[in-house]
């Protein structure tokens, strides 16, 4: 026989169909191998955390872990709440509330970043929206930045007492995770 490939054979319907089936099978095998890297069932099940707020006095803050991320919970003083409420939206680099429980494009008022009746509590994912560092400001003697809230030392982002970006390279306000008050002194995040 000759060594050249018979073109008619190659284009034969059966040959094409067989090869196409084999190729589709190989391609669909990729799916489980991609999926396996996604969060697994145990990680998804851990997606909510309950926090007891009773020991956190006014002016104090705690950091808790939720989905492997730090969540800032601060019991704000009356003055801190007042300064946060007074800020005009036009002064904010990012005018969206970034609240997981509210739709996008909700204005970033302090009320939209807290829960009604619990305005002294601010709960946010403590990850700088610039490049993912953890801002300072949780502990009493931390630098709190020019606006009395949080300050990210990595690249100098200043957040106010409502966790909104005011100065520096960070593009967005600190994210408010979905959470609810289970009781007056207990919240459930996630």
């Amino acid at each position: 026989m000759t060594s050249h490939v018979d073109d008619a054979n190659r284009r034969d319907f059966l040959v094409v169909a067989g090869n196409a089936f084999a190729a589709v099978g190989a391609a669909s095998l990729i799916w489980p191998f991609v999926q396996q890297m996604n969060p697994d069932a145990s990680a998804k099940a851990m997606a909510s955390t309950e926090v007891d707020l009773a020991p956190v006095k006014e002016g104090q803050a705690i950091t808790i872990m939720w989905r492997g991320k730090p969540v800032f919970v601060r019991n704000r003083t009356k003055e801190e709440v007042a300064t946060a409420v007074e800020v005009k939206l036009t002064e904010l680099p990012d005018e969206e509330a970034r609240n997981g429980a509210l739709p996008e494009a909700t204005p970033a008022t302090d009320a939209n970043r807290t829960k009604q009746g619990h305005e002294n509590w601010i709960v946010m994912v403590g990850i700088c929206t610039h490049l993912g560092c953890i801002p300072k400001g949780q502990s009493m003697n931390d630098a709190k930045g020019d606006f009395g809230g949080w300050f990210c030392p990595c690249h100098g982002s200043h957040y106010d007492t409502s966790g909104r970006i005011r100065k520096g390279p960070a593009p967005r306000n600190l994210e408010v995770p979905p959470y609810e008050f289970v009781s007056d002194t207990k919240i459930k995040i996630g």
Binding site: M1, D6, N9, L14, G25, A45
Partner: protein, 291 residues
């Protein structure tokens, strides 16, 4: 604790374990034939079978009201009881079940630095009554009730056919896709408590069982008729109890069976069609060449 340390620190346990072994399962292999285990019909048996949700629910009820007094199920999480392909209880009732589960979860340390017990949640394992093996042995006269999460996979049925029937039986099992040895064994074990034959002396604290290798085990007969009420009209016999809890434990050991077999059929169909197509294509390619 490393295995070495464990080995050094518990020579005593080793000695007693060896003594126990000598009297029980190890002797099984020296018998000419192991106990014969009857093969049961299982809804999840063979290559088509899927779990029967109602049976898994009844089986869980048996586990909860009988087995859980001594045995844990720690690789199964409460959330698993909700997921498809399992007992499929409603989420709210499982949440309540978890909150009331007597064996609470050790958590902590709290702000005072203390470990504490808290009610279980969906994401927590189904704990047994003992914190560890030592506590279990102390409470159970030296016997250790094993965790049941994998028991249906960790037990099997050993057959001792003659050498010339062996390959055919193997092929038969492969064609029929027989994987239910564990469930068969567990059913036989739970229904296998009988009075010992006259020539057998049963040791103190041991019970005679036809299915158990060596025939003497430390677990008394766990099931008795009408002990657990069923709400779906299934007869409350020991045999039904045994089968239901064996089915449940099979699910506990292999919770992805339903999905696995369903996907398996799709894959088999695909492979058959593609193999035939490729074969026809190959014939076409070779049609001009005599070979």
């Amino acid at each position: 604790m490393t295995t070495m340390k464990r080995r050094l620190t518990s020579t005593l346990v080793a000695a007693s374990a060896a003594a126990l072994l000598a009297s029980s399962p190890a002797t099984a292999s020296s018998e000419a034939h192991g106990p014969e285990i009857t093969r049961q019909q299982w809804s999840f048996g063979g290559f088509r079978g899927q779990y029967d949700q109602a049976q898994l629910q009844r089986g869980f009820q048996i586990y909860k009201e009988v087995c859980s007094a001594c045995h844990g199920l720690s690789r199964v999480y409460f959330r698993n009881l909700v997921q498809p392909g399992g007992p499929g209880f409603p989420e709210e009732s499982v949440k309540a079940l978890a909150a009331e589960w007597p064996n609470q979860i050790t958590d902590g340390p709290n702000d005072e630095g203390q470990m504490f017990e808290r009610p279980a949640r969906l994401a927590d394992p189904i704990r047994g009554p003992y914190k560890n093996e030592k506590e279990a042995r102390a409470a159970q006269n030296g016997a250790y009730p094993p965790d049941l999460s994998l028991i249906a996979k960790a037990r099997g049925v050993e057959r001792n056919p003659s050498w010339w029937t062996h390959p055919f039986l193997m092929l038969g099992d492969i064609f029929a896709s027989y994987q239910e040895g564990g469930a068969d064994y567990l059913t036989a074990l739970m229904t296998g408590y009988v009075d010992p034959p006259a020539d057998v002396k049963v040791n103190d604290g041991m019970y005679y069982n036809t299915a158990f290798p060596g025939h003497q085990l430390a677990m008394p007969s766990p099931l008795s008729a009408d002990a657990v009420p069923y709400s779906d009209g299934t007869k409350t016999t020991v045999e039904n109890y045994a089968k239901d809890v064996s089915a449940f434990l099979s699910w506990a050991a292999d919770p992805t069976l339903d999905q696995r077999k369903r996907m398996g059929w799709q894959v088999m169909l695909y492979l058959f069609v593609t193999t035939v197509l490729l074969y026809l294509g190959k014939r076409r390619v070779w049609s001009k060449i005599k070979h």
